[in-house]
Symmetry: D3
Subunit: 260 residues, 6 copies
């Protein structure tokens, strides 16, 4: 039993947490991640990083959203791959808004949405905006963050020591995500199937209907060669530390290391 | 690694399953279940029974929906309890419709929605209807079922040998669900906190805003006294068998016991 | 002229009623009811029972909603029958919410929705919930009820003296509804066409698209044999009495028999 | 029993009509109509004129929509009057679209929406457009009409022989509607309360929130003085004849007088 | 640089205007206007008249809405003409509501929507109603007007001195609009292509799908013969004066001629 | 008269273009752009660059969308600035979808959305996806692009020769946009008010409700110092060339320089 996972808590335990802790809502996706990674990569990373964050600050982790917004060719391979289950934009907005509204009704003042699927961003933000746009007090406050914007340049240099870093958009099912999965859930990585694929050019446009030729057949946008659990650990720990620091500041937590 | 859990499969493995297997979408909720059971009871029961069904028929289990429609006082205690996270009706309709639409796009012909939260029913059905209402072929076909309508009277008699069975609506967080959790996830049951509460009279009306006095303070609608893992096993196995039989007939499976 | 039917009242007469009376909104459907009953059975029963209730408590009856949510095979025969006009779920939610919102704006504190079409239930409740969910006073209050949950077991025994009672879901266009129509609107019952059909097994699942073989060709889910006006009177009067009692309690009416 | 009222027909009778007849959907409102006319004026006029049309051409009359779009000050007195129950625009669009879609599914090729509430017009048209906009065949065809655009100038002169005709918009609860009600439903007209009110100037703008001073306190936009059943008969019969002629042409009916 | 066009103002200049001036939102369309007038006629007329009004009263003119509600055959030729870009009703409602809501948030108390496309009317009004319906103060106030309801009978007589005035609905791309364009944007009028077409009979019904035969092939509903810049000037100046007078009264402006 | 601006074309001229040309839909916003730039910066840049593109490839330019999605603090200063008019996400999706649907109905096969407001991106893409997601032919095809992703690194180096380039997100109302406006619409730039403000740190999170302290009071996210018309010309011409090349390839145009 995990004492800060909402689905494992009773309502009495949960109710006692709302005034003192942070509510974390992890958001992932169900999306192809190459021949070597499972469909739940984003969901797993979102949930695991949330758990690591909750080891350092007092928090309750809500059930992770396992379905996300539509995969884009330029950052996720796009809708043509089997196993990529895409929500419409209004659906993700409504889903997130309803859940946040209920957390607010339960009395939470500090809510953190941790997102591990790039395409979700605009729609998660819209949901939070619809609820709090006209509020003129500082709290309740909702913070949304992902891991890739919270990795420091030094760590990027260490991780991309053998292959070039071509930007986070192309890291879909590539070196960074593969390494993180090798660290967080090694039993789910088919290491013998790690591809060395890459999309040739960065896309500077969007095209509809999606092209059938731009994305490599593997679904990987960049090579996963040189992935390792150690690199995954570097990425994960760096992101966790950065996020803990941000939440401590944003939510005025005085001693983030004392977790109930 | 669980070879039939979609989030653990690669897209290549998943794609190979669509023409031969059944896609199961479990649906739960995040809802108070008394002082002794966790908020994820419905999610856990939905996922676990789906897993047991998938041991007997070839199936892929999609990520469970962890948030459901609004808890009603007469069947779930209602929205006033902390930790009950309620989706609006249109949100659940849209969420389910989007996901089903994507499964249909992936080529699934046999889809089974297994629901463990009573209040979801009308909205899950609406989603399936919106997609297939005007289809004039038999397949793709979507079947929706729950566990309580698929337990045989004999099992009910065995389970309710010490306390009276007052109907499934009142079994929220009571004997049946408590026993099932003791069988499926015993580490999550606070046995020392099992209540002996009951709602006095069956509600024959609905009332808005929800009453603050009808539902017992514990959130349980009927007593959980005499719950046991053994009774949980009886209920679970009976429901699994019944559902396997139904799916075999409805989806014309010839040898349900040969699982991939 | 009926002095408590809203459509026959002037706005001045109506306005004078809002502070002292109950507003009743009857809800029916347009749905096949076998070869012997008209498409408006649910609308007629809703309106007539509302009228009988209004003879005992001070009330204004709003225009009945004549179109309802989608008929389900297991409780109404389903959408494949001609003459069954089904609203989408969101449409019925919005329609009911708009109307209720206007009644609240007009100053009503006590609103009663009387529903005679099973499939409407979840959507009527959603509409009321959307309006009053966050209200923290007891009034305005909305009560939703139907007739079948408000018939006493003794009356059921008397009515089903020749044929077995198999549950209310199967009473679509069967003994109960036929008898009620023989009592309330005998000129609309084609007695020579009363069928003796029945659905073989209770459905424990839902299936999409709807099956073309499960429901009897007549559209009746159970036999209407032994129907009579007398049995209809028993059912109607019992439901009316029960509902009057409930409304008197829920709305704190002291002398329900003194009507305006 | 009225053999062409849908709610009184069995589904078998109804089904036999779809290929040969016209389906008429009357649309009214629940709206204040002065101190002398009931709230259901538009609903009653819509239903009664539909019945008279159906005496001359083969038709089935569906249940009337009793709630309409928002009353406007310049044509109905506006939302500030008690008893005026206003639907939002999207609600009326969705309601009408769902119903029309079902009639089309039932096989109707000739559908006539007869509207008696001015403010409904744009939203009824939107519903029909959403369904048939991209259809490239002539049938199924939907015709929408009202009565006021189908009264000939000669009849207007005869009816407004004592008071001036100031345009149909101002005839809300005034001479024309009062006369028609005296002809169609005289028992519902409070003749002793017929007002002699009038709005001073024609409104050439719309104002939000609605003004509390422009509309006379009675709710009548023009005088109802000199109303009579005879004048009502002139208006009704003229509109019925015009509409029968239009439907005969538009739906290519060869002998409109032979009614089943 | 135009000092009262919002898109040309800085936010600092704009902010300084909100408490003292009127915010004007012009609304047009993109719709066929015959072989001699451009698709932007309604947009151009809306913008130009708004500019002339703003010369007489202190106002800021927001960016014009260039896309409007669906063209109807009886007032705009309908959707079958190329270049007619039609918004759905709910889209125009939502667009207008969002924009108005933001203007209200910016502190505007006096908002004027000036509409030059007939079919927009019901949907613009719905947007304003949704925002202000339940407001019980007089301000903020939204006024909606068009030009055709604000032209005096004397001017109509002068303009229609050679051809008959058959009502504003038929003036689509006809004498009035052609003349106004010759006055406001003469370089956009193809004078050699001015048609002499006319729809035969006034439509007293609406028909779906739209007829391919009723509207003249040119797209003009009435003749544009005898159009002139002088007549355009008469119409424009008369409408501007009327509107300035109305706004001065409705918004209690004491000296309409003193412009910032 | 501009022969490729849709609002200035007649429907006959427009119709003749649909099979041979590209339809360009520029999309801007109404958003604060510091004390020195007008609210219409994005609208102006979108329209002007579209015009320059249309000088090199055969195209028709549709009316620009002047209102866009919600300004974000990290890329536009956010909603707290006066004059920033934000559409909800679903509104922008619906608006764009309706317009695109009509262009497709008019027969366009090659559609280009040119966006100059960063926050619009996800919602424009959603609209295109909703229309073409299930299309299995290559055409009609919709391409979406902006200018900042289509500026080459060499030009960035030349433009940012005096101040550091901190990423496109911070270029809101800063050096790049100021220079482009000095080149495209110099009369609208208040050069004496060009600020030297900057946001201190790149935001790696989103925060709701929006912070009142992060964004500089001017609304500029980075310095506009060293802006010049010459730099604007470099940026504009580079983007135009890149876009012309992309469209020529994507739409298989053989001789992009031969414009109608």
């Amino acid at each position: 039993m995990n004492k800060n996972r909402m689905e494992q808590m009773t309502w009495v335990e949960y109710e006692a947490s709302t005034t003192e802790k942070i509510l974390i809502l992890p958001v992932g996706s169900t999306e192809q991640h190459g021949p070597h990674l499972p469909l739940g990569v984003d969901t797993i990373i979102a949930t695991e990083i949330a758990s690591l964050v909750a080891e350092q600050i007092p928090a309750v982790i809500a059930p992770t959203l396992s379905y996300g917004y539509k995969s884009q060719p330029s950052s996720g391979g796009g809708p043509l791959f089997s196993g990529t289950i895409d929500l419409n934009g209004t659906t993700l907005i409504d889903l997130t808004r309803d859940i946040l509204d209920e957390f607010l009704e339960d009395g939470w003042k500090k809510i953190f949405i941790f997102n591990a699927h790039y395409e979700n961003e605009a729609f998660l933000a819209e949901a939070a905006d619809l609820l709090l746009r006209k509020q003129d007090t500082e709290y309740p406050k909702i913070i949304i963050a992902n891991w890739w914007d919270n990795v420091s340049p030094e760590i990027v240099s260490q991780v991309f020591n053998e292959v070039a870093f071509r930007g986070w958009a192309l890291e879909h099912a590539a070196l960074a995500e593969t390494s993180m999965m090798m660290y967080l859930a090694p039993e789910l990585v088919r290491e013998d199937l790690i591809p060395d694929d890459r999309i040739e050019n960065l896309l500077t446009i969007q095209q509809f209907p999606p092209s059938r030729t731009i994305v490599p057949a593997s679904g990987c946008l960049n090579t996963a060669r040189s992935s390792s659990s150690k690199k995954g650990q570097l990425l994960v720990e760096d992101a966790v530390n950065k996020i803990v620091t941000i939440l401590s500041e944003e939510f005025s937590l005085h001693s983030p290391v004392n977790v109930n």
